[in-house]
């Protein structure tokens, strides 16, 4: 990760609306690939996207894209969550219009528009008015208008919202095609864990404006052998606090707590066990973790709640 230039780097990003803090000291760094921006509704995803696009100004902290602090919108393609279409325009006209707004010449914009709609297999539907489109086609056109000027970074806000399963799979296929074969970086904002697990390389988890995790999907989900699920009873909170950074997440099960732990060579299994015992915890179960994103995600949210209490 460290050797290539970071696509997005946020440092101590804070955004307040009056007394309400929407983003609180968010720092992360992501590199090329598909980046899942994950969080429940109201977690601050949309605000973060607006900050990345330069449509909003952070209260403090800074963002750099491709190592530059000044946002170049021409290098970014954005697919908004809102319908954001002009119903009276035809599909290909709309995409070409988006291209023209990015500075393409009209001729180029039209050619590009047809190319991309071909690529997204839109067929004859492109000659119909946007007002008559189904949700799936609207999402495709929105993706096309983000791609028309060949951006390096695609920011997609809920691209799979309202799609039926085949259309959703198709959309995810497109995303991985553009990231893996065309070398684009894609930020995929969603609250659907399945989408993230299907295509993302890296994950940034947000909740209540706090960045709970930012790492590769593999590391988070813990397919590697050094992640463990420990069920702790007894003095649970002290035990979790004693684990500190090692504890990736926890889930209160009533009576005992599921704790997700990340080990590395410096801190072995024995070490972790002794820490829990020293804090007054009782270990009920200690197994290597092969969980899915759901477990980890809920664990992350639960840990935040626990720490806050």
């Amino acid at each position: 990760m460290g050797d290539e230039i970071a696509v997005i780097r946020c440092r101590n990003l804070t955004r307040k609306f009056g007394s309400k803090t929407v983003l609180n000291n968010v720092s992360f760094e992501v590199s090329q690939g598909i980046i899942g921006l994950l969080g429940p509704n109201g977690a601050g995803k949309s605000t973060l996207i607006k900050l990345i696009l330069g449509l909003d100004i952070p209260t403090s902290g800074d963002i750099s894209l491709f190592g530059k602090t000044k946002v170049e919108l021409g290098k970014i393609g954005f697919m908004p969550e809102a319908k954001a279409i002009i119903p009276s325009m035809k599909g290909f006209e709309f995409v070409a219009f988006a291209g023209e707004l990015e500075g393409l010449k009209r001729k180029d914009a039209l050619r590009r528009s047809h190319e991309i709609l071909d690529c997204l297999s839109m067929g004859e539907a492109r000659f119909r008015k946007l007002g008559e489109y189904s949700t799936g086609m609207i999402q495709k056109v929105k993706l096309a208008q983000a791609l028309v000027h060949d951006p390096d970074l695609l920011i997609l806000d809920e691209p799979t919202a309202g799609l039926d399963p085949p259309a959703r799979n198709q959309m995810l296929d497109y995303l991985s095609y553009f990231a893996r074969q065309q070398g684009k970086s894609i930020v995929l904002s969603t609250h659907l864990l399945g989408d993230v697990q299907a295509v993302c390389d890296q994950v940034v988890v947000l909740n209540f404006g706090v960045c709970l995790a930012s790492c590769s999907l593999e590391k988070l989900v813990g397919n590697k052998a050094d992640s463990y699920l420990i069920e702790v009873a007894g003095n649970q909170i002290d035990a979790i606090v004693a684990l500190g950074e090692r504890c990736v997440g926890s889930q209160d099960m009533g009576g005992f707590t599921k704790v997700f732990v990340q080990c590395d060579s410096s801190l072995g299994i024995n070490n972790i066990a002794s820490k829990i015992l020293a804090a007054g915890g009782v270990i009920k179960k200690f197994v290597p973790l092969e969980g899915n994103l759901d477990d980890v995600f809920f664990a992350l949210l639960d840990k935040q709640r626990l720490v806050a209490n």
Binding site: V22, T47, L53, L55, L101, G103, E115
Partner: protein
């Protein structure tokens, strides 16, 4: 339905062509907004009324100069309807219809045409601007390189084009018509008129379009727009009429009447004499006050527009 495999895609091609300067995007916005307006029925209704009015003035002028050119034997053949007194006709065209190529001709013509513009903007203005605010498509423009300045610029150009299409351009045609019918010395004797037509066009343009931006941005619906403009173009003039014409208050109160100020400035641009009701003394407003009123409206509207459209960080 089967899930398409990656092989079914046509290959995506990267594109690194030459790009226009970013501000050129504004013209694309103008073009698309005008296309949108041209698909509206209300545009064609208002436009045909405006064309009728133009034709009335066009042939009225023609008639005036034709009658003036006839042998001064006092009688002119009017089609199959017999003969009419030449002086009567000239008098009618000159003082009643004011179709004699004087500044008043152009003032009356542009005033009438601008009524049409008001109706058009009030009915179609919301679809020009408001629907973007309502349907959340503003973010589409915001996320493009030109951002909101392109959007505002493009929409401003589109609305201005409509204003000039209805008022300035036909007025210039009328001017040209007189140059052709009369002599080109008309141009030499009335250079101010030519500049005045253009000047009046721009006064209407600035006033109406800035008002449109602010009101649409604030109300975001045709209803609010109609109500607000009814206040500006109907309530204010009638209040001013009560205050000044009936209760004889200071004529300076007319600064409240935005549209009167615009017309007064236009009058000054063209060098036309103010319209007076019979037996009324000159109660017209000092043009500087009119200009001050107009620039006040322009400034407030611009500030509102900037605050509404360039607002950063709206919670969604």
């Amino acid at each position: 339905m089967s899930v398409p495999s990656l092989n079914s895609f046509l290959e995506y091609r990267p594109w690194r062509g030459l790009r226009n300067p970013v501000w050129m995007g504004a013209f694309a916005i103008t073009r698309e907004s005008l296309k949108l307006i041209f698909t509206r029925k209300v545009f064609w209704v208002v436009f045909s009324l405006a064309v009728l009015n133009f034709l009335l003035y066009f042939f009225g002028q023609y008639l005036f100069f034709w009658v003036a050119d006839q042998q001064p034997d006092g009688l002119v053949r009017v089609g199959g309807f017999g003969r009419a007194n030449q002086n009567d006709m000239l008098q009618f065209l000159r003082s009643v219809l004011k179709m004699d190529g004087s500044p008043e001709t152009f003032r009356n013509f542009i005033n009438l045409q601008s009524r049409g513009i008001i109706v058009l903007l009030v009915l179609a203005g919301a679809s020009l601007l408001g629907e973007d605010l309502n349907q959340g498509s503003l973010i589409f423009y915001q996320s493009k390189s030109g951002g909101m300045s392109n959007y505002i610029g493009g929409k401003f150009l589109a609305a201005s084009f409509l204003v000039h299409l209805f008022a300035t351009i036909p007025a210039l045609f009328l001017f040209l018509e007189i140059c052709f019918i009369d002599t080109w010395t008309y141009l030499l004797y009335h250079p101010r008129l030519l500049l005045g037509i253009i000047g009046y066009g721009f006064v209407i343009n600035l006033g109406l379009v800035s008002l449109l931006f602010a009101t649409v941005g604030f109300f975001r619906s045709t209803i609010g727009l109609i109500m607000c403009w009814a206040g500006v173009f109907f309530l204010l003039p009638s209040l001013c009429a009560i205050m000044i014409d009936r209760l004889k208050l200071n004529p300076a109160f007319r600064v409240l009447d935005f549209w009167y100020c615009v017309e007064r400035l236009g009058e000054k641009c063209l060098g036309a004499s103010p319209t007076l009701h019979p037996s009324q003394t000159d109660h017209s407003l000092n043009p500087w006050l009119a200009a001050a009123s107009l620039s006040f409206v322009f400034m407030v509207s611009s500030i509102l527009t900037i605050r509404i459209y360039f607002k950063k960080g709206v919670e969604s």
